[in-house]
């Protein structure tokens, strides 16, 4: 410590003296000396220089041990680095958009800050669980080696062409394989190697591939039986997107619980060539399936033959089909779904790849059959829905999604995420409910056919403007509704409607004894409101809608929220205004922080309770 207290110039001359003493033996060597002597002298001096650089690094390391952040244990540093990894991932796009090589590294820059940070980061294999194959072969190998022995998530993006070799070598410890494959399919030989720890497999082909003239997908009817060498013992989730030549020739996948196949249009090759029998055979090899989602990927319909037993899917809880009525009906006939299935979503459309347009007559013939089969799932409301579907077959594109929900006695109030609406009404086109233009209001007609009086959970997606009268008119009889899921644009009108008494029912003869009418409010049993949009979007700013913007200003926002508070609801959920926020984290105080809002949070009412639950 005494040395450190020396004056700077004295200290500096001390070091100069020391450096000179280190090379004192070279005093006789000059530029005129012989070559050998000069070379030896240079070597000695370079060694001294290198030694001094090392000494300087050592001293800097010592300095780093004395800075405030050095007080943090490695565990916390790792925690900070994992936050960095989430906030600043490795750049995955084209180099054109990220000219700085350092910025391409994203969070991994922390390993370049100092030795101690590098050591901490490299020692934590959990930080290297996700390996993006976008930084070239050297970096990819480096990242893969850092992640050992942790099973990793491998993410392959469209521009990564150099991933094949390292991926083949490391498939044995990949647990999640996410391939957005715009590359040449013939590079994908790793798909046919054993994947002993693979749990999730996502494979997406580009939209313009797999059509006429394009090379056949690597996942075709010929190759599919050899997927992961038929050795993926823990593979539980498969999602295939745009695999249009896909055929149902799967290897046996005993561990599979989630199968999702999505094509962007109904004209995919597989849809036209594969038979229902192929699908049934494939499903027999997936006895533990819990979730089956087929979007424009149902095969050609076939009638079951007498010897055919329906495929038993005893664990199935979620079935979602999007196809023509005939194809949906065909699948439903060939599978045996347990009564306890929680969610059935069938969306039929009028175009069939085989028949082009399905006539309304044909649709009317097949729909009752489909509904009869779906009735196996014991939902009495489905027959009403049938009527609604028929009604909607006119000019207007009105899509109704029916969500069946069973075991109503076990219907929990919270958490709301576990709730499924009894009927999810999704109006795509105008005129919609709020439109008062006087043109025929088909959605309103459809709505009247639905069993609105018995609803407990109601979800409405309608981007038109509603007034309080829209609510009162259509849902005045829905007295059992407990949970509402709505667009934010509908919230102000809802709050106004909630504050108004319902108009008294028209009585044929006035009851003189009951001259005092009891005031009835809209949704008298309402307990929670969730304000959409419910789907998370990847675009920043597209996730939530600004209630203040809908309401006009913050004052209106406050009065809207105060109106909800007055209803003493258990839960109100509002959207956030940026991405990376999940539904669980939607918090009311994102709406504003002025004094009025602060006073609102202090109300001993629903708002506080919601705040307490939602965070």
């Amino acid at each position: 410590m005494a040395d450190a207290a020396l004056p700077a110039d004295e200290f500096s001359s001390l070091w100069s003296e020391f450096a000179r003493s280190c090379i004192a033996s070279l005093a006789d060597v000059s530029a005129r000396s012989d070559d050998r002597s000069i070379a030896d002298a240079r070597e000695v001096i370079e060694q001294e220089l290198f030694g001094q650089i090392l000494a300087a690094c050592l001293l800097k390391s010592r300095l780093n041990e004395l800075i405030p952040i050095a007080r943090l244990p490695a565990e916390i540093l790792c925690h900070i680095f994992s936050c960095c990894a989430y906030a600043e991932p490795v750049h995955r796009g084209s180099d054109l958009y990220c000219p700085s090589p350092e910025k391409r590294l994203g969070w991994m820059k922390v390993t370049h800050v100092c030795r101690s940070w590098r050591e901490v980061a490299l020692d934590s294999s959990a930080l290297w669980e996700t390996v993006p194959f976008v930084l070239g072969a050297r970096w990819t190998e480096e990242l893969l080696s850092r992640s050992r022995p942790v099973p990793i998530t491998a993410i392959i993006y469209r521009s990564s062409k150099s991933w094949t070799l390292p991926l083949s070598n490391h498939l044995s410890h990949i647990k999640v394989l996410d391939v957005d494959n715009q590359c040449e399919d013939h590079d994908a030989g790793f798909l046919f190697l054993p994947a002993p720890v693979l749990e999730e497999f996502r494979w997406e082909r580009g939209l313009d591939r797999g059509r006429g003239g394009q090379p056949q997908s690597v996942l075709s009817g010929d190759t599919l039986p050899y997927l992961f060498a038929a050795h993926a013992p823990v593979l539980a989730h498969i999602l295939l997107i745009n695999c249009s030549e896909f055929k149902w020739a799967w290897p046996s996948l005993n561990s599979l619980v989630h199968l999702e196949i999505r094509n962007r249009d109904s004209n995919a090759t597989a849809v036209r060539t594969v038979s229902q029998r192929d699908l049934s055979l494939a499903l027999k090899g997936m006895p533990h399936l819990e979730s089956l989602i087929l979007y424009h990927s149902l095969p050609r319909p076939t009638e079951p033959t007498p010897g055919d037993n329906p495929v038993e899917l005893p664990n199935l809880s979620h079935l979602s089909l999007t196809a023509s009525v005939a194809r949906c009906l065909s699948l439903i006939r060939h599978i045996s779904v347990p009564n306890g299935v929680k969610r059935i979503h069938i969306k039929c459309y009028n175009i069939d790849p085989d028949n082009h347009t399905v006539s309304s007559v044909e649709r009317s013939r097949l729909l009752p059959q489909l509904i009869d089969h779906v009735k196996l799932f014991r939902n009495p409301k489905i027959s009403d829905l049938h009527t609604a579907l028929i009604e909607s077959g006119g000019t207007y594109d009105v899509r109704l999604m029916a969500w069946t929900f069973f075991a109503p006695d076990a219907h929990p109030v919270l958490p709301i995420d576990d709730q499924l609406p009894d009927i999810d009404i999704y109006f795509l086109c105008y005129p919609s409910l709020g439109n008062d233009a006087g043109i025929p209001n088909v959605p309103s007609i459809v709505l009247q056919t639905l069993p609105l009086h018995s609803l407990r959970v109601l979800s409405i997606t309608d981007l038109s403007t509603w007034t309080e009268n829209t609510w009162l008119l259509h849902f005045g009889l829905s007295i059992h509704v407990e949970h509402l899921l709505i667009e934010v644009s509908l919230l102000p009108s809802l709050v106004k409607a909630l504050s108004k008494p319902l108009p008294p029912p028209a009585a044929e003869e006035p009851d003189t004894e009951q001259s005092e009418q009891v005031e009835v409010q809209l949704f008298p049993q309402l307990r929670s409101v969730e304000v959409g949009p419910r789907e998370e979007s990847e675009s920043p700013g597209d996730v939530g809608l600004d209630l203040a913007a809908v309401s006009g200003d913050e004052g209106d926002t406050v009065s809207t929220l105060r109106g909800l508070a007055d209803r003493r609801l258990d839960v109100v959920r509002l959207p956030l205004f940026s991405n990376r926020r999940t539904r669980e984290q939607r918090m009311c105080h994102n709406l504003g922080s002025g004094p009025e809002m602060e006073s609102l949070w202090r109300l001993p009412t629903a708002i506080q309770r919601w705040r307490r639950v939602v965070q």
Partner: protein
């Protein structure tokens, strides 16, 4: 481990509806706080369980200053009775949730104070506060070059030229 000293019952009211704890900071400040407020701290909860097992009440000595301790108590008081997702043992991996607006204001302190708070939160096992501090620190260095990060946190570049160009070097020298 903190040093635990016996406390006179007259200092810390024990039995009753609002149980109090006596926390002693490293600068020897005695701070009385309701047990309920500090229940977010797993460390404190374990200490209290220990009290109940031995039927003796103690002060809890903590290795950080009263200034830091008061900040932690302020945090715990604000979220008293609230369920915070990050405190759940089954919570999502760190870094996946944003810093709450109140936390952002609460953590709008100088860098050294922020580091002291995260260290105290780590010691007291308050996962949500550790998470918020970690995200706040991550936000400080997000998008910065390595040189800028060094400047922000006062770190020296102590790599040898060889290490600087070798990403796999473990720097054990």
């Amino acid at each position: 481990m903190p040093t635990i000293v016996s406390v006179d019952d007259s200092t810390v009211p024990g039995e009753g509806s609002s149980r109090l704890l006596l926390l002693v900071s490293s600068d020897n400040k005695h701070i009385v706080v309701e047990e309920d407020i500090m229940s977010r701290s797993r460390f404190i909860s374990k200490q209290v369980e220990g009290f109940e097992a031995t039927s003796q009440r103690h002060a809890i000595l903590l290795p950080f200053s009263s200034f830091v301790l008061n900040k932690v108590i302020e945090y715990c008081s604000h979220y008293r009775g609230y369920y915070l997702l990050e405190d759940d043992p089954d919570a999502a991996p760190p870094g996946r949730s944003p810093v709450r607006e109140w936390d952002q204001e609460f953590l709008d302190v100088d860098r050294n104070m922020l580091l002291r708070i995260i260290k105290a939160a780590h010691y007291l096992e308050i996962k949500s506060l550790v998470g918020s501090c970690a995200r706040a620190i991550a936000d400080m260095i997000r998008g910065k070059t390595t040189e800028e990060m060094r400047e922000i946190l006062g770190v020296e570049n102590d790599f040898t030229p060889e290490e600087e160009h070798s990403p796999s070097s473990k720097c054990t020298g």
